[in-house]
């Protein structure tokens, strides 16, 4: 299990109860979403994942600046100290 930091963007602020930074332990991105769901409610999983359990295409998740689409998606493994950022896909360019 890795201890990681999530930088919460404004548009997810309501969903994550106003937190700006969240620290938690997880082994993969999937694990992060599960832990957030346990902490902040089922809305988290419902809003972040699509019907097939994949990250919604309107969202991009980055681990230390690298888009998880290039590192195994939700199965991307995490290391202690990793920083996670989430952005809407619409913010691209």
């Amino acid at each position: 299990m890795a201890e990681i930091l999530i930088q919460v963007p404004r548009f997810l602020s309501n969903l994550l109860k106003g937190e700006k930074e969240i620290r938690l332990e997880a082994a993969t991105i999937r694990g992060v979403i599960e832990t957030l769901t346990q902490r902040y409610g089922d809305d988290v999983r419902e809003k972040l994942l699509d019907g097939e359990g994949k990250l919604k295409s309107v969202l991009n998740v980055y681990v230390n600046g690298k888009n998880i689409r290039f590192t195994g998606g939700l199965d991307t493994t995490l290391n202690s100290g990793d920083k996670i950022a989430v952005l809407p896909a619409v913010a691209g360019g």
Binding site: N14, K47, K56, V58, L59, G65, R69, V90, G92, G93
Partner: protein, 407 residues
């Protein structure tokens, strides 16, 4: 007046008031500005005598006129092609020449709306993430508006673009990485420091400026629509906005049913929308390492990619790419036939135009408009290698003579 009715989510149609927001709270989709189209009825005669800038379309722009930052942007020439059209065998070809805008690219259009809206919303700083053209446009508008400006650029941007942007006086942040890294940092900075980032948290308003490229073409063609337009594509925002522009002119009674074919042109090495189109995919997988001479289009994660793809397919347009060599040849071709000096993004459009005509995807009878989005002076390095050197002679007529052909 900007008669905005509301912001509406492009994915789930949830509506919001005119405010500083760019992401749907329900589903995280992008937001579009919508107007009370039923209450806006325009006729060609309404435009006689109006300012020759994009502000002539104020009824369909989302800004209170008291806050307009006016650099006389837009209303650029729609140049009828003679020589290149003949060479390609096209009966009716036009170039929309946006190289002549105040900061020498089409980005003056969205920047004008973005910075004006920032003022209207009471923001005290603006900024953007840029591949170069938006940097200059944002910085110039911010300077005139008297607003602090933070521009985020990737490493390796063309010197002329950086020099130009710096001259207007913004703070330029060169991010150690590519455009997508710069964009991500800018997005985080928007939240952390409450900065109005034009192409991020002001995006729904900002993109409204680009649709004037459709408005002007329709007006300049005598209030009719072209058959086919070629659009250089980076994020897909401009293409999507052009489509919206034609649709809105229909909504307010200025055009009939819209059947404009919209084709996307990208640089090989960063052509995610072209790849998606050619593989019949609905998804646009990002490009991890963009690598194209067309740096202004080198956006590996195009925020409006999926939406641009839908607009391309809607009326039977295409998506095609051009490699670095083709881009350079096209820049030279455009200059040599039409006298327009463009940066690589315009070269991409011309190269793709040529391909589509030569293999019959564009019919010779179609009325075609090709968008030339940025000035060649911004990217001299791009073509220097491919240019002949000046002929060096002693100041002597005899030494000169052999070099003057046919005399």
């Amino acid at each position: 007046m900007g008669r905005i009715a509301r912001l509406r989510c492009r994915e789930c149609s949830t509506e919001f008031d005119d405010s500083l927001r760019y992401v749907c709270e329900e589903c995280f989709g992008p937001l579009d500005v919508l107007y009370d189209y039923d209450q806006i009825r325009l006729r060609p005669s309404d435009f006689v005598g109006r300012e020759k800038s994009l502000w002539r379309y104020l009824e369909l722009l989302p800004v209170d006129p008291r806050f307009i930052v006016n650099l006389h942007q837009g209303f650029t020439p729609l140049q009828r092609s003679v020589k290149l059209a003949a060479q390609l065998g096209l009966k009716e070809l036009y170039f929309k020449n946006d190289t002549v805008n105040p900061t020498f690219s089409f980005k003056d259009r969205p920047a004008s709306i973005g910075v004006s809206k920032a003022r209207e919303l009471g923001l005290d700083a603006v900024g953007c993430a840029s591949t170069g053209n938006l940097a200059a446009a944002t910085a110039a508008h911010a300077a005139v508006a008297g607003l602090p400006c933070y521009v985020f650029i990737p490493t390796g941007l063309e010197l002329a673009k950086v020099a130009q942007a710096l001259t207007y006086g913004p703070r330029i942040i060169e991010v150690e990485g590519d455009y997508d890294d710069a964009n991500r940092l800018a997005a985080q900075a928007a939240d952390a420091f409450q900065i109005g980032m034009l192409n991020i948290n002001l995006r729904p308003f900002y993109v409204e400026g680009s649709k004037t490229l459709a408005f002007e073409v329709a007006e300049q063609l005598g209030w009719t629509q072209p058959d086919h337009v070629i659009v250089p594509v980076g994020s897909g925002a401009m293409l999507h906005s052009i489509s919206k522009g034609f649709d809105e002119f229909r909504s307010v009674g200025l055009l009939g049913d819209i059947q404009v074919k919209i084709s996307a042109a990208q640089g090989k090495g960063c052509a995610p929308i072209v790849q998606a189109f050619k593989t019949h995919s609905d998804d646009v997988p990002p490009v991890e390492h963009p690598d194209t001479l067309a740096k202004s289009l080198a956006i590996g994660e195009p925020g409006d990619g999926v939406y641009a793809l839908r607009k391309i397919r809607r009326h039977g347009g295409f998506a095609e790419e051009a490699d670095d060599r083709e881009i350079v040849d096209a820049i030279k071709l455009l200059a040599a036939t039409e006298g327009i000096f463009t940066e690589p993004a315009g070269g991409v459009a011309v190269a793709v135009l040529k391909k589509l005509v030569e293999d019959g995807r564009i019919d010779r009878d179609e009325r075609v408009v090709c968008y030339i989005t940025g000035n060649g002076l911004k990217t001299p390095e791009a073509i220097l290698e491919a240019l002949p050197r000046p002929i060096v002679v002693k100041p002597d007529l005899e030494a000169l003579a052999p070099h003057i052909r046919g005399r």
